[in-house]
Assembly symmetry: C2
Homo-oligomer: 350 residues x 2
DNA sequence: CTGAAAGCGCTTACAG
DNA sequence: CTGAAAGCGCTTACAG
């Protein structure tokens, strides 16, 4: 019953009157142990509270076989790409675990060409990786990957965005509905009940991402829950990246100059808004956006953006590697599914 | 020049035509190696980019000698004590490092009795600890500890609050001036230029803590920097915990009911304010405070507190152990001095 | 079904 | 000043 005085496999063997090899077999649920012996050893392991020394375990294994993890994320087009950050976190974690036997390989796909995702998946599954880190941007392809991974018993972690899939899956992501609610709280503090609110979805080449929608629904839920009877106006503007948008009713409202306005940009491109407001002579506005990219941070500094919400992309990548490693070496899946806190950034804590 | 193909001490020995024992002596800067041999080996280590396998290194050492860390923090009076949190973080880190050879011992002092701090210090220094985690609340006593620790070459990390000491020291803490500026930003967003601001220092039995002062100065600096010419009124209220305060000019202002009011409580006791406001029929107020204690969180939920700033006390404790361990095993001091980010908490991300 | 032995990469006590 | 050998706790290939 002495759990403090870390005893080892040797002591367990002695207590059970067997060799350490046999104890090891039981510890790893290997075949070739009689039921009686197995039971006796299991009992002693439980009684003594034995836990294996991971140091020693990994020392032996690391030299023999590295854990191989495949990372399949969108193409990184330039130095300022969002995906630089998770990549950085991944590399940091790998550096920390290097001696413990880990190797990674990056694969990239173009989300305008779903086939590029499938193709890389094919490569990954043909090369016997021990784990996969990817994203669920493409629904069908993500499901295909998930199904294959379950069949082949390879753990998968999806970064960045949660989307319902055919089977339960591991996500390391911010709760986007919640993030939208936080944005609602922050904007309402600045704008109050008498202003107007705008949700701006800046469209990507392939439309609106699922987490942008989740953020909008959280934002609306915030007002619905807290100010239902105030009939606060919330307009949605789906703004094409190219800027040749048609003038909708919502845009007319935005371009009027009567009330205080709160603008919630549901993705990382909030930096596009201040210029548009300026061109149309709109003042008395407050902007809340996502992600600490260079342009957003610059406008936060000047006060043209009031709040940014950080998804901690670097931390997401870091955590993904660490948690997969933990699962693969210790069979501990407790960290494969992580909700990243909604971090609020203003000029003074950027 | 091959840095990828992790070679070991054995290969280095072969390249240098010496035994692994000699390589080890050079790696640890031990005596008993001729200058020529040492130089040759150092050259090869550099060329090959050799880094020692910490797994193997710790495996051997952990069995032999545990790293002993002393933790000297204020008494924990009850389940809700602030110091429960760092303690929890410390225990979590120790659990993770257990197999790698670490043991800790907690010591507690009463900050109303500085002598209790000195006495525990005496015990700690007489017992050959490898590292110390403590706090710098007591200036003279902290300096004494620092001087002793430098003499005995024992690394010290101060948690929670930074204070200038006789020699440079390691702190794991939030930048309190910065936190005050963030509070200024948040309150100003809610209250604007036409309201009144109050800094409430709720006194402890021993007066105002140094980080409370730092927070106030940051708060004032925010307004001074950004709204200098708006002549915004900021009143300081030093509020004794006992509640039998005298009516100052500032309090008269607070108890008037004309303008929107922003209240910045510089410590964890912001939960005391809503009741006082209610008793005096003061409405249209916004409160920003510190720390996610039970009472504060309850008032955040009801909207009576607008923002809380989190110092991540659990993370501070966790980081302190991890960074001391890293320093003591790898001689890497890069994480002994950490600035904890100013985390902004609202109801929706609490 | 079980045991004895070699070895992971490093550290250390001992021998010379 | 230097080397050979034992050992940290676990894993594995081999022998029986």
């Amino acid at each position: 019953m002495d759990k403090s005085n870390n005893l080892g496999i040797k002591e367990i063997a002695k207590l059970a009157n067997v060799s350490i090899g046999t104890v090891d077999r039981v510890l790893h649920n290997r075949t070739g142990v009689s039921a009686a012996t197995r039971k006796k050893i299991q009992h002693i392991i439980k009684e003594t509270g034995y836990t294996k020394n991971i140091l020693a375990s990994r020392l032996k294994l690391a030299a023999r076989k590295k854990i191989k993890i495949a990372i399949l994320i969108p193409e990184i087009k330039n130095e300022w790409s969002y995906w630089k950050a998770p990549q950085k976190g991944i590399k940091k974690a790998v550096k920390e675990l290097k001696e413990q036997g880990i190797s990674i390989q990056f694969f990239h796909f173009n989300f305008l060409h779903p086939q590029s995702f499938s193709e890389k998946c094919g490569t990954i599954f043909s090369e016997a990786f021990d784990g996969i880190i990817t994203v669920s941007f493409l629904e069908k392809e993500s499901n295909d990957l998930l199904v294959k991974s379950i069949k082949q018993n390879i753990p998968v972690v999806f970064l960045d965005t949660e989307r319902p899939l055919k089977y339960s899956a591991n996500f390391i992501r911010q709760n986007s509905v919640n993030a939208g609610m936080v944005a609602g709280r922050l904007l309402h503090g600045l704008v109050g009940n008498d202003g107007q609110y705008f949700v701006v979805n800046i469209l990507n080449e392939d439309g609106i991402q699922i987490n942008n929608r989740q953020r909008e629904s959280g934002f609306r839920a915030f007002f619905n829950k807290n100010f239902k009877n105030k009939s606060i106006a919330i307009h949605t503007i789906n703004h094409p990246l190219e800027n040749d948008f048609e003038i909708t009713e919502a845009l007319k409202q935005l371009f009027s100059n009567e009330k205080t306005k709160g603008i919630f940009v549901t993705n990382a491109r909030s930096f596009l808004i201040p210029q548009i407001l300026k061109e149309n002579n709109i003042s008395d506005t407050f902007i809340v956006g996502f992600d600490l990219n260079r342009q957003n941070l610059a406008l936060l500094k000047t006060g043209q953006i009031s709040f940014l919400i950080n998804q901690k992309p670097e931390y997401q990548g870091y955590t993904a590697i660490k948690s997969l490693y933990k699962f693969l070496t210790e069979n501990d899946d407790s960290e494969l599914n992580v909700e990243i806190p909604v971090e609020i950034i203003v000029k003074e804590n950027a």
